[in-house]
Every structure is written in C-alpha cells, then in structure tokens.
Amino acid sequence: MRVTFTVNGREESADDVWEGESLLYVLRERLGLPGSKNACEQGECGSCTVYLDGTPVCACLVAAGQVQGRRVRTVEGLAEGGRLDPVQEAFMECGAVQCGFCTPGLLVQAHDLLSRVARPSDAEIREALAGNLCRCTGYEKILDAVRLAARRRAAAGQARGEAGA
C-alpha cells in the first residue's frame, strides 16, 4: 500500500509498504530518516520516539497505515533554521551522549517535556524519561542536560506557547 503523511513539515509518500510494517521501518528504510533508532521493537526502550500529531509515541508500535494523512516529527526535525534546538545543544555540552543510540528518542521526549513544563522538577524529568533506556551514561548527565536546556529555554523566553510539533 501507499502511505502519505507529513514528516518534519514536508509531505512524503512511501510505496509498497507492507500492511504490518511499523512507522519506524518506513522512516528509516523507506524515507531515509535513520535518526529514530530501532533497538527493541517492543516499546521498551524509547529510542524510536517521535511526535505523532504533536504527541510522543514509540514509532515501532505505530502501524504505517495509521499515519496516513497525519503529522510526524522526528529527531531530524527538531533543529530549526539550521540551528540545533536548546535540548540538542545541552545534550552535547553536558556529555549526555556516549554511543548515541538512545539519544534521538531522549531528545524528542525531553523536547516534549520542556514544551509542556518550562521548569520541570527532577521527579518530573525522571517520570518523563522513564520509557527511554540508556546503556551508557548512567542517566546523570542526561538529567543535567535537561536541566540546562530548561534554564536556557526559560532564559530565551521560548518555553511558553511553543507547541510540540
């Protein structure tokens, strides 16, 4: 089947999509967007997290046919106007990235958190990231990065009114 949907602001179509195929497979293998990672294919690790109509979901658990006519935003779509999002910058600066496999999912999930909650508490950060596994960092630097991004966004006055996708 053919599936047409908006990805990072652009309408895209994928052809010969198998009916049981996941959105993650379509993004990575058919649309050349390998940012979202495939680690578990069972919703456990969060490395495939993308926005679907503005809500973070595991792309591995969304059937491709379910995104027909809908809006998807991946990690590739977080940077705007050639500038990394503050969340992305903070992850680099804080050393929150080691192998980087978990990073795209964490970036989308943290981006969503900060667009809803300008200054999240540590408990809120942990809760928001509870579905994103990292085998390398031990999470502390990820928490640092989210706190730094929150401060930066607040300082830049951009926390308010910015929709997720």
Binding site: M1, W18, E19, G20, S22, E41, Q42, G43, E44, G46, T49, T55, P56, V57, C58, C60, L61, V62, A63, G65, Q66, Q68, Q109, E127, A128, A130, G131, N132
Partner: protein
C-alpha cells in the same frame, strides 16, 4: 495482509462482520509487538483510530462512558476525579509514550490477566459495551468479560465500543507490585472501591489468577461485618486480606511465585482498604 481503515463505527462493524479474521488495532501497543516479533500474522488489520467517536468520553446519570479508544494519558489528564481507581492504574502503565497510545479498550481486547485496567474496572462495577452488525449491542459486566487467559467475551464479529464505569461515589485505590516504578507488568495488583450508598466494597485482583477477578467472599464478608461509622477493626482487616488472598489462584512464573503473589494480594488488600477508610472517615469528619 490487508489494512482496513473504517472512518465510522458502522463501517467498522461492517468490516468486522465481513472479515471476522481481521484483527482490531487501536494504539498498537499489544498488536504491533506481536506483529514485529512474528507471533501473529492476521489476515487483516482493522485500524480503529480513524473512528473519532471511540476517543470520546462522557458522563451521564452517574456513569462515565469511556470510548474504547480513550488513551491512558486522557484518563490521567481528564478523569482523575470521576474514575480515581482507573486513573491511578493508568499512571502505572508502561511509560509516557505507551500511555499516549495505549487504550483501555485495547487492554480489554487483550484481556491479559496482568492488564492494569481490569482490577479498577471490576472494583468499580464497570460494564463493557460490545457491538456487532448482526446482533447489535451487548452490555457485559466486567466480571463476566474475562473468560480465560487473554480470552475476552467477544464473538468474532464483535467490537468493543465503550466501557461504562460508575462515577466514583467513594474513595478508590489501586496498588501494583513490580520491580521498578515504570515499565512494569504487574507481578500482581489490587483495586478497591468503596460504595458508601450501598454499604458495599468492590474489589479487583490482577495478575494472580488466569483472569482478573473479584474477591467475592471478601466483598460479602465486608458487606456483613463492616461498621461504616467506626474505625477499621484490626481483626476484620486481617480477615479481609486473607479472604482476598484466598480468592487468588496464582501460579509461579518469571515475575514471581504463587506464594509471594498470595502474600502480596493480602498486603495490598489491607493497605488499599486502610487508605480508602482513612479517606472515608476523613471525609465524614470534614
């Protein structure tokens, strides 16, 4: 495999009647795992996310009617007041991403003994509204909905349309045992609801028998023995825990032993009744 995409409830019922082998697909958090891992190859997927009415909920006559496509995230954000037991259970499901997609209807369709919606639905006295093109609507009380391990009381041409849950008239609590505070399939779980007008206590046990179930003898015991105007009696509390544990029929598996589950059910039963009773007494004092 075919991908069926009804946009109205009537179309969905027609599709299911014409293709009983089509597998309903809502949030996909159960279905897609099975497809990704080649555990299941249905002849067709019947995507219900295009049927907008399934995502809606409404309250009328003291009953909340929750469309089959209402997500856990919506239950948490919008129904914490009306359905506190279900909302507490929803907060423990998976992760934020899973709660954004997973639905109460999907939990019912999967009918796993470990599903977190079931104990609070049982305790609250919910009923599942199912429908087919040929025979119309059937309303199945939650306690009659779970026929066996992952076997809901659905005919091949039927779909779940909604679940009707009485709006809480008293305190409700949900408790779940697991290894982590997120992403945990219940080792076992317990839900309790006070129904003060009827002087009745509802219960629901999860993950401690082939199906979710009520602890009927424990409920009857409280109906007989509980003094609604007094503090909780320690002996009565202990007996309630024992009767709840006796209602369970757990097995040993990777998540826990049968003996541990029985023990934990008794502990959760006592705790949830204590919490609910504190609220009940506090509410009366206030």
């Amino acid at each position: 495999m075919d991908f069926l995409r009804p946009t109205t409830w009537q179309e969905a019922l027609a599709a299911k009647a014409d293709r009983p082998g089509a597998l309903p697909l809502q949030g996909g958090t159960d279905v897609m795992v099975e497809i990704n891992f080649d555990v299941r190859r249905p002849e067709a997927l019947l995507d219900l996310t295009g049927v907008a009415e399934l995502r809606e909920w409404s309250v009328a006559g003291g009953v909340c009617r929750l469309g089959a496509g209402v997500t856990y995230a919506t239950v948490i954000d919008e129904l914490g007041g009306a359905l506190p037991g279900l909302a507490q259970a929803a907060r423990t499901v998976g992760s934020p991403q899973i709660r954004n997609r997973g639905t109460v209807g999907g939990n019912l369709g999967a009918a796993s003994p470990a599903g977190d919606s079931h104990p609070p639905l049982l305790a609250a006295g919910a009923a599942v509204e199912v429908e087919s093109r040929g025979r119309g609507v059937r309303t199945i009380p939650a306690h009659a909905f779970y026929l066996g391990v992952k076997r809901p009381a659905l005919e091949p041409d039927e779909l779940i349309r909604a679940v009707r849950v009485p709006v809480a008239a008293g305190p409700q609590y949900f408790s779940k045992v697991g290894t982590r505070n997120a992403m945990v399939i219940a080792v076992c779980s317990f839900a309790l609801a006070l129904h003060p007008a009827e002087r009745r206590v509802g219960t629901g046990i999860g993950s401690a028998a082939p199906t979710p179930l009520r602890a009927l003898e424990a409920e009857d015991f409280l109906s007989r023995e509980l003094d609604w105007d007094a503090a909780l009696d320690a002996g009565l509390l202990r007996r309630f825990g024992e009767l709840c544990a006796a209602a369970a029929a757990p097995i040993d598996d990777v998540r826990g032993t049968a003996a541990y589950r029985r023990h934990a059910v008794a502990v959760m039963a006592r705790r949830t009744l204590t919490w609910a009773w504190d609220d009940h007494r506090g509410r009366r004092a206030a």
